[in-house]
Structure formats: structure tokens, C-alpha cells
Symmetry: C7
Subunit: 240 residues, 7 copies
Amino acid sequence: MQSPQMMGYDRAITVFSPQGRLYQVEYAREAVKKGTVSLGVVYQDGVVLAADKNITEELMIPESIEKIYQVDEHVGAATSGLVADGRRIVDRARVMTQSHRLTYDEPMGVDTLTKDICDYQQLHTQIAGTRPFGTALLIAGVDGEPHLFETDPSGSFWEYKATAIGENSDKVKAHFAKHYKEAMNLDQAIDLALKALQKGTEDHFSEKSIELAYITKDRKFVKLKGADLKKQIQKSTGKK
Amino acid sequence: MQSPQMMGYDRAITVFSPQGRLYQVEYAREAVKKGTVSLGVVYQDGVVLAADKNITEELMIPESIEKIYQVDEHVGAATSGLVADGRRIVDRARVMTQSHRLTYDEPMGVDTLTKDICDYQQLHTQIAGTRPFGTALLIAGVDGEPHLFETDPSGSFWEYKATAIGENSDKVKAHFAKHYKEAMNLDQAIDLALKALQKGTEDHFSEKSIELAYITKDRKFVKLKGADLKKQIQKSTGKK
Amino acid sequence: MQSPQMMGYDRAITVFSPQGRLYQVEYAREAVKKGTVSLGVVYQDGVVLAADKNITEELMIPESIEKIYQVDEHVGAATSGLVADGRRIVDRARVMTQSHRLTYDEPMGVDTLTKDICDYQQLHTQIAGTRPFGTALLIAGVDGEPHLFETDPSGSFWEYKATAIGENSDKVKAHFAKHYKEAMNLDQAIDLALKALQKGTEDHFSEKSIELAYITKDRKFVKLKGADLKKQIQKSTGKK
Amino acid sequence: MQSPQMMGYDRAITVFSPQGRLYQVEYAREAVKKGTVSLGVVYQDGVVLAADKNITEELMIPESIEKIYQVDEHVGAATSGLVADGRRIVDRARVMTQSHRLTYDEPMGVDTLTKDICDYQQLHTQIAGTRPFGTALLIAGVDGEPHLFETDPSGSFWEYKATAIGENSDKVKAHFAKHYKEAMNLDQAIDLALKALQKGTEDHFSEKSIELAYITKDRKFVKLKGADLKKQIQKSTGKK
Amino acid sequence: MQSPQMMGYDRAITVFSPQGRLYQVEYAREAVKKGTVSLGVVYQDGVVLAADKNITEELMIPESIEKIYQVDEHVGAATSGLVADGRRIVDRARVMTQSHRLTYDEPMGVDTLTKDICDYQQLHTQIAGTRPFGTALLIAGVDGEPHLFETDPSGSFWEYKATAIGENSDKVKAHFAKHYKEAMNLDQAIDLALKALQKGTEDHFSEKSIELAYITKDRKFVKLKGADLKKQIQKSTGKK
Amino acid sequence: MQSPQMMGYDRAITVFSPQGRLYQVEYAREAVKKGTVSLGVVYQDGVVLAADKNITEELMIPESIEKIYQVDEHVGAATSGLVADGRRIVDRARVMTQSHRLTYDEPMGVDTLTKDICDYQQLHTQIAGTRPFGTALLIAGVDGEPHLFETDPSGSFWEYKATAIGENSDKVKAHFAKHYKEAMNLDQAIDLALKALQKGTEDHFSEKSIELAYITKDRKFVKLKGADLKKQIQKSTGKK
Amino acid sequence: MQSPQMMGYDRAITVFSPQGRLYQVEYAREAVKKGTVSLGVVYQDGVVLAADKNITEELMIPESIEKIYQVDEHVGAATSGLVADGRRIVDRARVMTQSHRLTYDEPMGVDTLTKDICDYQQLHTQIAGTRPFGTALLIAGVDGEPHLFETDPSGSFWEYKATAIGENSDKVKAHFAKHYKEAMNLDQAIDLALKALQKGTEDHFSEKSIELAYITKDRKFVKLKGADLKKQIQKSTGKK
């Protein structure tokens, strides 16, 4: 039998292959795998997100590259894959959470938000006139208890205690499998996140080239920056 | 004669082959077959649904993967195939049943609901601009008497006393053919469901990797979880 | 000259071949031929419809497979071909007859209904963005006198005294050609229908795997079920 | 040079070939040629239409196949080609004439009606999203004086004293060329029509397999049926 | 280099070839060239139009074939090419001139009308979803002074003292080049038109197979018919 | 590597080639190059436009071919390329300038008009469903000071002191490069324009086959015609 | 494996390749690389933009080619790539900033503007019916502190202290890497910009062929022209 490339099943939008596969969705996942790694860790009271931004140019302003976004007071998201695709989904997520607050006068549940985002992504795999989104998300939030969801271009999602998306995510997940513990506090979680992130990152590793944020018990999104982040990196990885 | 792949009948949407076949619908059925197994069993007063979630990652939260959904107070559904496609149909089913309650002030009949869902699926096999849904559903409910319907991507449906969809569904159905009895009570039905589910499941089989729900005579959807589910599994399969 | 498959005339929608043929419509007829047989017989005061449902699975509920539908009080329809396509046309027919009653305060003529259904099918052979329906119908009704129409995917229709659609319909029609008589009563018509149906059915033949309905002089649609149907089958075919 | 089939000019809708031809329109004319013959004859005060219905099945009701339609009180039409396509155009013609009566309070001129029908057919040869109609029409009517128009799938029309469309129309027209006379009365015109029709018809020729209608001086459409038609056939052709 | 047919530049609508050509427009011009010839001659006070209708069938009513149309009181048009395409443009021209009279309470200028018709034709060479019109027009009128415009499928136009379109138009134009004189009166212009038309016509040439019309100084469109036309033909060509 | 023709990058609308080129736009430029030459010259107080109309037929009315159009009182435009495309853009320009006068009660700036026309052309290179315009324009006007802009099918524009578009425009531009002087008066500018135009014109060169217009200091568009133009041609080129 | 050109992944809009790449976006980047270089430099209180216009024709008015645009009082933009594409995005940016002033009564943040422009560009890489923009932008502005953003056809953006886009941008960036200093004043920044621009420009380098603008601490956009620009060029590069 010929390869799927030869047969043309992989070039059309919204068409099944004889094996029941949607190649455009699988190729979108390749776009995710080419993005630098992002990860999330649930701890006792909240969730930590960390991401590698892969900054190599001296004159670039590191803060201008964002892979971890605040979505609402109590929710954050980290993306891997096509940057502009990810930004568009995050924008939509922000509208969803604001609209939820206006309608119900209370913050949106993290699981409900994740489901709505994934429905939006699914539509882009079935309706003609658009390609799938080339991005995956980690959606982290605290709505009573901490939650960490992973989404993918097909519109599927899974909840994790700790997971990673993007390039080398398998190495990061392997690290989690060995070292994750249930009842960590924030410091322990940040330490684990940074050590794991190092597994998925090539050479550079500094407060300039990575991002770290967490959502706390009292439902606040906090981004660690500059000297604070630098200190944490030194503590966890010995890097200066 | 050349194979259908060579001739191109299988790549276009909404086009018949010379044999009168719709290949995109047949390929969507392949997507169903790649999904892990789901099953349903009608007993004296109600219906039992069970599904294999195939959870292998340690840090994943099992509850975040849903294959059995409550649709209305008296109706549940189990899916096999593309997860996000299934979720979208279930959402639509929920709107249908709510809208029925609002319009007629009574719960929707299980057969009517099934027909409406299937009409929605049929449209996706005839109208341009979309692919068929890559998912099958078991729709279970009690509206006076218990009902268990199976739908498929073409928009066909069948009512069963006991049936299964997804990978290895033939093994599960073979088990039913031998062991199904008309006048079972809930306990017997759960026992049969779990034993049958085991036939369609590879290695893992625990309260984490399977789901079980039933709809009772008094039209209530109940999901069995945690310790309760674990006890049942031990009872039926000897697994701990 | 090359085969039509080679030339590509048969893959495009709404395009003529050099011979003036519409291949998609002809392929839709193949889908009809793959469906199990349905038949109709006009008798003195009404019409009898019968259909083979080809039920082989033990645990399937035979009633859930419908090939003969009540359309209005005085009209029924039997389909062969893609089940979900047939159901959608029947739904449309029901809306047509109800809407006719509301507008004109009298039941719709069987010929008018047939024409409107066929116009709907014709549109699906000419307008882009949809495939033809893969289904044929027998439309039977009494509006003063009994009528039996056959439709096909092109939107053509013909009125018959007795006819059949689907797999082996030629064998059934051959039986009618030999044994049909003008002035039969209901019993004789049912007897002829069952004997003819047997010609188009493989092995199984029971009250579970076939459907039988008739529309009477007083314009009522009646479906024969269970013990009553079983008795008739025994009487006509000797089967138990 | 390669054949047009090889070059692909004949498969696209609304595209010219290098020779300035529209192949889809020419193929639609082939569909007309495959239809059984219809003809028209103008006499002193009116027009006669006749058509071969090619009925071979014993149990079919001949009246259910219509090739000659009443369009308005003073206008009739005969079609050859795809039956369902012809019916749709006739429906449109009926709406045109009714709408004309409502707007202007007088019957529509036969030439105006013909032109409007042809504009409708022309649109289907130029606009994307539809194929041409696979049907030709003879439009016959009396609006002061008798008229007989022939239309074709391109939207062209011609007025004739006597003409024919469909299979073997050349044989029928050859008969007219020899035997047509200007000042015939109704009886002579019917006689000519039946004798000519026989030239375009294979074996069968009876009151069941043909249709005959005429529009008279006083602008009334009359269809000859049953015994009356049988007598005429016997008189003109000697057939019983 | 391969021929344009091989390269596919000539099959797509609204696409340039590497040489900057629009093949569909050029092919539409071929459709014009296949139409029988039409011509126009400007004389002192008005314009004469003449056209060959190529009628060969005895029983056809010659008047039913129209190639010269009255557009408004003071404007006429002759077409060559696809008959139904030409009729649609003429219809549009009639709406344009009526609408102009209603808006400005004066007849539309012949140049303005020509420009508006050509804009309509140009749109059909640039916008997707339609083919170009396969017709050219001669637009003749008197709005103070006489005008004769020729249009083509691209939407270009040119004003002439005498010109021709369609098959053999080169022969007719060659006759004009030799024999046209500035200060002719109506009789001389008709004589020139008929002699020139004969150059572009095969065998037949009678009052039945040609059309002749003129627009006079006092802005009236006149069509010459029957005996009058026959007399003119005899006078100019010696034919009886 | 294969040629772009082989690879198909040049046939699709709105698609980049691997080299970042838009072939349809480049082919549209070829259509411009096939048009006869048009030129413009800025002088002290205004701008001169001249164009070759390439008239060879004796009976054609030269004035009916327009390549230089008045757009507004103070603006003119000359086109090269597809005539009907150019006319459509000029029509749009006229609406733009009139609408500007109505909205702001002052004439539109020549640069603003040029930009708006170019935005309209750019849209036709990016949006599906249309081909680019096969025309370039010289837009000349006086809005305080004289301006001469050149546009091309991509929607780019440049301001010049003197330039040319169409066939042989390089020869004309070479003439300008040698002979253009800053402080010319109207007579000198017309003289330069005519001498330059002769460089881009084959044989014929008379008041019939060329057009000449200028926009003066007091913002008036003037077209030179008949005897006046003939005298100028004689003076500048020695031709009679 | 075959090249992507062979496989066709690079010709379709909005389709992923098996490697998760969007070729149309990558080809649009090639269009950017073919444009002449543009650059930006952040200094103590503001930002400097400079661009090469590559003017070689004597009679062209240099000011008519714009590569640096004022977007709002406090924001400017420089483009590289397809000129008309760039102009359209700048127009949109102007509407965005004006609309922001009207809605919020304060100038738009430079980062917000950049994000909104990039969202607009991203849409053109995902939705059918359009190609991506073939242009990159440098967006420079002062909103409290100075900002310099670079955007690309995918809709990604990065903030820089100094960067360049278009042909030879790597040489310019290499110059920045060596010579950029944090605390420059305006004069030093202009000097650096001009020296760097020279690295990306072939032969010509004068006040006619380049553009230079800066946005100052007090949020004003200033374009350096004529003699002033000439003096700066002499000072920085020694060119006269």
C-alpha cells in the first residue's frame, strides 16, 4: 500500500482516511510538537505553570514573548505550537470567562472553560473553510480546588496532576512520573516545575528565557519575574 | 478493477461510489472502531451503561475523561470514537431534552431523542461543508420502560437489549449473546456489564479506567464511583 | 473508449456525462438496490405494504427498525436504501401532509404528496452542495380510492397496482406479474404480499424480521404486529 | 489533437471550450434525445400534442406517467428527457401563468411564457452551482391564434407548425415534412399526430402507452383518454 | 513549450495566462464567430441593422427566431453567438432604458446604454461563479445623431459607420470598406446592407431567412417584414 | 527545478509561490504590457496625458475608443491593458471623487484618490472569487500643484514627473530621461508628450489614432481634438 | 521523500503539511525578504525608524514611495514586502488607534495595537478565501516608554531594542549586535540607524532613496526630510 502522503488523504480538510484518521488534525499536533515545552504542576492549594521561551537574540525584549497568559483572576493558560493561534484561543477564553462573570456573577469553573475552548477547537476540525488550530493549551486554575487541564488540536482534553506539552514533553513527563508527590506546597511545586522544565530545554536557561506563574488557593494568578525568578532558578537548578 | 482508494471515491464528501456506497461514512465508522469499547444492558427496570476509558498515565485524573454522560434526568449516553465529536453530539442532546421539557412540560421520549440525534448525524453525511461525525452513541433511558439505542455515523439507529460499540465490541456482544437474560435485576445487570466489559478491555481494569452508570425505574441517572465501583469490580471480576 | 470511472464523469455532482447520464443519481439507485426489499399491493378498498427488515441479531429489538412509516392518517410509506436518508424524507412528508391539513382543512391527495416528495428529491440531483438521496419510497394511501406510488432518487415516480423496491425486487415483481388479481379483498392482498415478500427474502422470515401494514377504505393506517402478524405468516407461507 | 473528453472541457460547468462550445449543454441535449418522443401539430384553430410514454409493465397505472401537462387553461406542454427536470419546469410555468393572470387580469401570451421559461433554462447554463436542465419542452397554446414552441436546454426556442423532440424525433419530423398541410381541422390534425407518433415509437402503441391532448380555438386544454383515445388510435393506425 | 490547452490556463474562469490573456473570454469570442452574421450601417439620418437567421426547416415559423430586437423606441440591437445569452443581455438593456426614462424623463443616450451593457459583460469575465456571455451585440440608435456600436464578450465596445459580427463578418466588412459612402439616404443604406449581408450568407436568402430593421431620424425603430422586405431583397439582390 | 508553469503556482488565485511571488498579479502586468502605450508629463502648472489608440479600421469612429478619461473637474486618467477593466476602475474613481465632494465640499486630493484606487486593486489580489484587474492607470491632476501617479495591478503606485505604461513604455521613458526639463510650459509639455508618444507607436500617427488631454493650473481638464490636435501633431512631429 | 513542492502541501491555503508547517505563511515570509530593508532603534526617550526605498528612476518623485507611515500621533510603522499589502494593514492600524481614542479618550498602547494587528494577520492564515499578507511591520511608538515591535505574516510579534526586516536584514542585525548601546540619545540613535541601514543597502544611498523618522519622548512622530536628512546622512556615512 502507498503512503498516506501519496494517497492525498492528508491534504484535504475535514475528510476521514480509510483508517478513520483525520490527518490535518494529526499534522496540527506536529505543529504543537515543534513548539518549545510548557508544563504544569498541581500542588496542595494551587497550580504552577512554566514555559521555555527559547530566546536567543540579545536585543529582543524577553517579556514581549508570552507563552503563559492570565485568562481570568483565577485562571492561567500556557501554550505550545503556533504562537498566533494560541493567542487567539486565549483571547476567546478571556471573553468566555468575562461573559460568565457578567451572566452568573461568579467565576467560571475551570472544567467548564476547558470544555468550551475544546468545543471551539473541535469545530475547526469539522467545518469547511478553516484549518485546525496548531496549538495545545495547559489550562490551570483554582475554583475551590486546583485544576490542570491539557487540550489538543482535536478538541480533546484531559486533567492531570502534572503534565507537559510541546517539544521534549516526553522527557518532562518522565521526570514528573518519578518525582511528583501529592502534597507539595508552592515552593516544592516551583522547584519541581523548574527542574522538569530543564529536562525539556536545550542550553539556555535563565530568567529571560523562561516564564513561571502560579494560581494560589485564594484564586489569584501570580507571575514570577526578574530577580525573584532568577533566585528560584538558582535555587532549583544551580544556574546563575 | 482498481481499489476504491485508487479511484478517488473515498476522498470526496457526499458522493456515492458506483456501488452506491458512501466511503466517508464508512471511514467514520473506522474512527468509531478505534475508540475503546462502551456497552449497555437493559434490565427489568432500567439500563446499565459501562465504558473502558483506557487510562494508562499515572498522573492523569481519571474523572476528567468522560465516556458516559448524563443527558437529562432520565437519559444517559455512552460514546465511542472521536472524543470531541461525541461531546458535541451529547451537548446537542442536552439542549434537545431541555427544550422538550420547556415546550411540552414533560421529559422527552428516549426514542424521539434518538431519532433527532440521528437526523443531526445524517445531515453531516449529505450536506457539503462538513465531514460526518466520527462517533457512535449508546443512548439509554427510562420513559415508562427502559430503552437502549445504538446510533452510528450514518444516522441509523437500532434498539437492543444489550449491545456494545467501539474496539472489541464483537467480543462483548458475543458474551451478551451467551449470557444475557431477560428478567435481571440491577445487580445482575451490573455484574453482566462488568464481565462483558472485561472481554473488550486489554490489561488494565480498575475503578480508575472504567465508567459505570445506570438509569433506574424512577427515571434517575446514577453514576457509580470510587469505592462503590471498586467493590463491584472485585465482586464481578475478582480484580482488586 | 475508457470506462466512465476512468473519465471522472461519475464523481462530480450535478454534471452530465457525454451520453446525457447523471452518474451520481445512478449510483444512488445502487444504494437502493442494496437495501432489503419492500413491496406494496393495491386491493379493492386499500393498499398493503410489506417489508423485509433482515434482523439477525438476537438481542436487537425488532420494532426499533422501521421500514414502513405512517405518514398521515390515510398515508403510509415503505423505504429501501439508506435508512437515515429514508427517515428524513418521511419526516418531510409528514410535515407536508400536516401543513396541507392546516392550510386546506382536508387530507392531502396521495398523488400531490408524491409529487412534492419527488420535487424535493429532484432538487438534490441538480443543486450543488448536496448528494442525491440514496433511497426509494413506496407511498401508499387512500384518498377516495387507493393509490400506490414508487419514487426513485432522480425524483421520478410511477403508480402501480403492485410493485417492489430494493434487493430482489425483480423476483417479487415477477411473482406479482403472475399472481396479481384486480378485485382482491384485504385478506387476499395480505396473502399475496407475504408470499411475494418471501421471494425477495433470504432465509429468515418471521413476525420479527418483517413488517406489514395496510391503509383501509375508511382511510386508516393499520400496522399488523406480534401474534396477529405471526398468524398471517403461518397462514400464507406455512412458516412458524 | 485529443478528444474533448481527454481535455476536460466537458466536465466543468459554465466553461467554454476553445471552439466556443458549452459541453454540459450539449450533453443535456443527449439526455433529451434518450427520452421517448413527444410531438406537436398546429391546425386551423388550435394545437395538438402527443407523446409516447413507453409503458411496458403490466401492473403500472399508465395515467401516473405524465409527459403532457396542462399549464394554464389555454396552454399545455409536452416534455422529453429527464422526467423530474421537466416536471420542475412545468411547475414553474404554472406559477408564471397564474402570476400573470393575477397581475394583468388576462391570460399570458404563449410567446411570453416561452421566453420566460427559456430565460430560466439559460440561467442554469451560466451560473455556478447547478447543472443545466436535461429536458426539452413543446409549449402549445392559443392566445388569439394557435402557437407551438420548442425549447432546448440552452434556453433557445423556435416556433413551428409541427415538430417533435426526443428519441426518433427525426423520423417524426420527416413524416411532418411530407404530410403536414396548412388548413387542417382538429380531426385531421389528430390523425396526423398519431400517424407521426407511430414513426417514433418502437412496438407498443395503445391508449395506455401514449398521451394526446389539444388546445382549442376557445382556449381550452382537452386531454383525450380511455375509449375515446382508443377509437382515435384505431381510426388512424388500424391498431386495436 | 506546451500548448495552452495542455497547461490548463484555458479552463479556469477569471485567471490570467502567463501572457496576460483571459482564455475563457477568447473562447466566448469563438461562440460569437459560430453565430450567423449580423451587420449595421449608419446613414444620413439613422442606422440600418440586418441579420441572417439561417432558417432551413420548412415548418419553422421564421418570425420566431429573432436576432434583431427593439430595445427602446429609439434603439435596436442585433446579436450573434449564443441565442439565449444574447436575449438575456437585450432584456437587461430594455430594463436599463426604461429605468433611464423613469429617472430622467428622457431617452437614454446610445453611448451610455452601450457602456452600461459592457460593464455588465465585463463583470462576467472577472467575478467567480459565472462564465462570460457568448454573444456580441450591435447596438444601433438615434439620440440626436445616429450611432452604431459593436460590443464583445470582454466588455469592450467600438463605434462604427458600418460593421458586422458573427460568421463571415470579415467578408461583410470587406464589402463595406469598398462600398460604404458617408451621405447615403435610407434606401441606399438598405441596399448596401442587403448586398453586404449576402456576402456573409451561404445559399438561402429570402424574406424568411433574414431580418432587417432601421432607426430613423425621428427616433423610431422600424422592422421591415413580409412583402416589403421581399421587394427590397429583389431590388437589391435580384433574388425572388 | 521545474518551471513555475509546471508546478502550478501560477494558476491559482491569491496563492504565494515558494519565492513569495503572486503569479496572477505578474500575468496581469503582462496584460498591461500588451496594451498600447499611454504617457503623462508634468509641466510648470499642470499635467499632460497622451495615449496611442491604435486605430486601423477605416469605418471605426475614433472618438469611440477612449483611453484618456476625465475623472473629476481637476483629475484625468489614462489606461493601458484590458479596456473594460480600465473603464470599471475609472467609473469607481468618478464615484470616489463625487462622493468626496459631497462629503467634504472640496475636490479630492490626487494622492488620496490614487491610494483609494490602489486599495481597490489590492483587494482583487488577495480575496478569493475574482482575478486581479488587467490594467494600469496614469492618474493626473492639479490640487494646488500638479501630480502624476502610475498604478499597477498589484495596487502599488508611484509619483512621476513623466512616465509611460503599456507596450513600448520603456522607449518612451528613455525619451523622457533624455529630454524632460523641470520648468516647461504647456506648449513645451505637449510637444514633449507627442514626440515621446511617437517612440512608442508603430506606423500610424494622426489626430484620429491618438488622444491628448491636459489639466491646467486652474484645475480644468481639457481634451485636445480634431483640427487643434492635428495642428499640434504637425508642429511636433512633422506629420500631416 | 519527495520535496514539499512535489507533494502539493505548499499550494493550498490553510492546510498543514505532515511536519505541521503552513507553507503559504512561509512563502509570504519570502515576499517580505524580497522587500528592501527597514529597521528600528530604541533610544533613551524614543524610537528611530529608517528604511531603504531603492529609488533608481530619475523622474520618480521619491516622496511618493512610502515605507514609513505615521499611524497615530505617537506611533509609526515601517514595512517590508508587498507594498500594497503593507499599506492596507497600516490603514487598519490607523482605524484601530483612532477608534481607541474615541472609545477610551486616550492613546492606544503600542503593545495593544501590535497585538490587534497580528490577530488580523493570523486570521488571514486560517480562514479560507484569502491569502496571508505578504508583509512584515516594525511598529514603533512611545506610550510612557518607547517600544519597537516586529510582526510577521503568521501573526507573531516580538519586541526589540533594535531590529530589521526585509532583504539583508541579517547584515543590519549583525551591525546592531555589535554597536547597539542602551543609553543613546536621539542623535546617537539616528547615527546608528543610518550606519546600519547602509549595511543593508546596495549602492545608492541619499536623502532621496531612504526614509527616516522618530517618535520622541513627548509622543510626537517626526519625519526627517530634504536638507535635514541629507546633512544627517553626510554626518553618519560621509556620503554627499
